[in-house]
């Protein structure tokens, strides 16, 4: 996903001179091609996330679309107030790019586990969450975010994610993208965001949940709850999958979207990480297994 991100960003930056990339002293062997091609639009802010975020807001207030690149918890929790007050409240086009969403950096320890990041981001009314499930969705999300610049959070995995799309998908916020290749509509659906797509696809490949359609929802946030009941009511059963804690995560967001249609709530079941993983150190797959996503 990191490579798809930087390749696509370079493509976009070639035609959009307002694109700026700021890194928090991270991105070795990933960001250099951008730096080489656009030295005036690349900054290493150093290990100083609070300044990095407010400074990005300052640049964005003059017309730049600023991408901030760092490992998941650093450009989020470390500077939550800067995101809330300076970026989201002022409605400025800053895209926070978090590498290693979920448990991608499993062996690096709890400081590097991003399992509460949706909770933070989805509590801000103006924040668009962008959690692509494969490299094609990364490119599609980037195109959407640069076509509609706004406060946004791009949550990426690390590397090695399988391709789920044959071509670049058209993505719209709040609208589920069908991944299953059959033409008939089933009565059950799995809805994923981010790396949940990889997990769900692995399960189906292994023969689990064969009667569920698979969907991805990479673009979502507080503003798009209103679009959910209509999509949910087409199915008798919905399962959400996410590599995030249940509390204030993606499945909870979907449930909250049904407060005006409570009869639909019982159709939802949520597969998220058990908080028992918090503080444990292991590989991504081992932690996911321990947390109930196996």
């Amino acid at each position: 996903m990191r490579k798809a991100f930087i390749d696509e960003l370079i493509k976009i930056a070639k035609v959009n001179r307002n694109i700026v990339l700021i890194v928090g002293d991270l991105g070795f062997s990933v960001v250099e091609p951008f730096q080489e091609q656009f030295p005036d639009r690349f900054f290493n802010a150093g290990v100083a996330e609070q300044n990095m975020m407010s400074m990005a807001a300052g640049l964005a207030s003059e017309g730049c679309h600023v991408f901030i690149y760092s490992i998941a918890n650093f450009p989020t929790f470390r500077c939550a107030e800067q995101i809330r007050n300076d970026v989201a409240y002022h409605q400025l086009p800053v895209t926070i790019v978090a590498i290693g969403g979920g448990l991608a950096y499993g062996n690096l320890g709890y400081s590097h586990h991003a399992v509460q990041d949706y909770a933070l981001m989805r509590s801000m009314p103006n924040m668009l969450i962008s959690a692509p499930g494969d490299p094609m969705e990364v490119r599609a999300c980037l195109r959407y975010l640069t076509e509609y610049p706004q406060p946004s959070y791009l949550r990426l995995g690390k590397e090695g994610e399988a391709f789920m799309h044959d071509s670049l998908p058209n993505l719209e916020p709040g609208i589920w993208k069908k991944i299953s290749k059959n033409n008939k509509t089933a009565s059950k659906a799995i809805i994923t965001t981010g790396n949940g797509l990889q997990i769900a696809a692995g399960w189906q490949k292994g023969g689990r949940y064969p009667d569920f359609e698979l969907y991805s929802l990479p673009l979502w946030g507080m503003s798009y709850k209103k679009d959910q009941p209509k999509q949910i009511e087409k199915f008798d059963q919905i399962m959400t999958i996410e590599d995030h804690l249940l509390d204030a995560g993606f499945g909870s967001w979907l449930l909250e979207s049904l407060t005006t249609t409570p009869h639909l709530m019982q159709r939802i079941s949520i597969k998220a990480l058990n908080p028992i993983v918090c503080g444990l150190v292991a590989s991504q797959s081992a932690l996911q297994s321990k947390g109930g996503l196996s």
Binding site: A48, Q50, N51, M52, S54, M55, G58, E81, Q82, H90
Partner: protein, 269 residues
């Protein structure tokens, strides 16, 4: 006719006092301490376009100590960014003029309230201007207590590294925080040396001396950000408010308002 900085500062003080009294709002001591700085900036230094507040050529002023917003609102009204009667809405429910500075008010660049945000935001703007060879300047007003926040030092490090000479930081050094003095909270001295060691061009002056303020504010740093340590008096201009922690949080009653206005008018007569 152009308003003098002295006249502007006097009007700022009077209007600030009226606003906080009517709204029963706080922070008048912090507002009065920067009235001279703000008066000199708007009367003599800033390139502004009241009929087109977003003119790209304008200088950018960021009030990081957002709790002192009445000084900026009053200054903007005096400079005709909006009618003076709008100041009467300060503190009303749903008024654009919130009790911490709001970017929704014409002429205001940035909403602040949480401390330690204004300087990093200003650094972003200064970086933009420098990279595009634009000639406007960025001014950031910080409180002294606000220097407790590490984000300021992160920002200053970045600004010096990138030689942001178009950035001018003004520290309102009134030496009082919200509970007691700076010295008894988290000592800042030696402050000049701290700023110099972070790579800034540092000037110390009396923050109520209009001539000095005007001279120093008109000149940018040379290949580095400029920091002006402005020694001020919290509550300046009103005898019973000067140097009193009480007026960080308290608002005047009507009798105190009348007394305060009388003192300010007589001092500047």
């Amino acid at each position: 006719m152009k308003i003098s900085s002295k006249e502007l500062s006097k009007n700022i003080r009077i209007n600030a006092l009226k606003m906080v009294t009517k709204a029963n709002a706080s922070h008048i001591g912090s507002a009065l301490s920067i009235a001279d700085i703000v008066g000199v900036l708007y009367a003599d230094v800033l390139k502004i376009f009241p009929r087109n507040p977003k003119n790209p050529c304008r200088d950018r002023l960021i009030l990081s100590k957002g709790h002192a917003c009445v000084t900026i609102y009053a200054a903007l009204a005096e400079m005709k960014f909006f009618p003076k009667k709008n100041l009467e809405t300060y503190g009303d429910d749903f008024s654009l003029m919130m009790n911490h500075i709001s970017h929704k008010v014409p002429g205001v660049e940035f909403s602040s309230g949480s401390l330690g945000h204004g300087l990093p935001f200003g650094v972003g703007k200064a970086l933009y201007a420098k990279r595009r060879n634009l000639c406007w300047r960025v001014f950031v007003i910080l409180s002294d207590g606000e220097l407790n926040e590490g984000s300021n030092w992160e920002a200053l490090m970045f600004a010096s590294h990138h030689q942001l000479c178009n950035l001018t930081v003004i520290v309102d050094y009134n030496k009082l925080q919200s509970l007691t003095s700076i010295d008894k909270t988290l000592a800042l001295e030696p402050l000049s040396e701290k700023f110099r060691s972070f790579g800034a061009d540092v000037v110390e002056l009396n923050g109520h001396d209009h001539v000095m303020l005007s001279q120093v504010l008109k000149v940018s740093g040379i290949n580095r950000p400029k920091v002006i340590i402005a020694h001020t008096i919290k509550g300046k201009g009103v005898s019973f408010m000067e140097n009193q922690v009480l007026w960080h949080y308290r608002s005047p009653n009507n009798d105190e308002l009348l007394q305060a206005i009388k003192e300010i008018e007589s001092e500047n007569a």
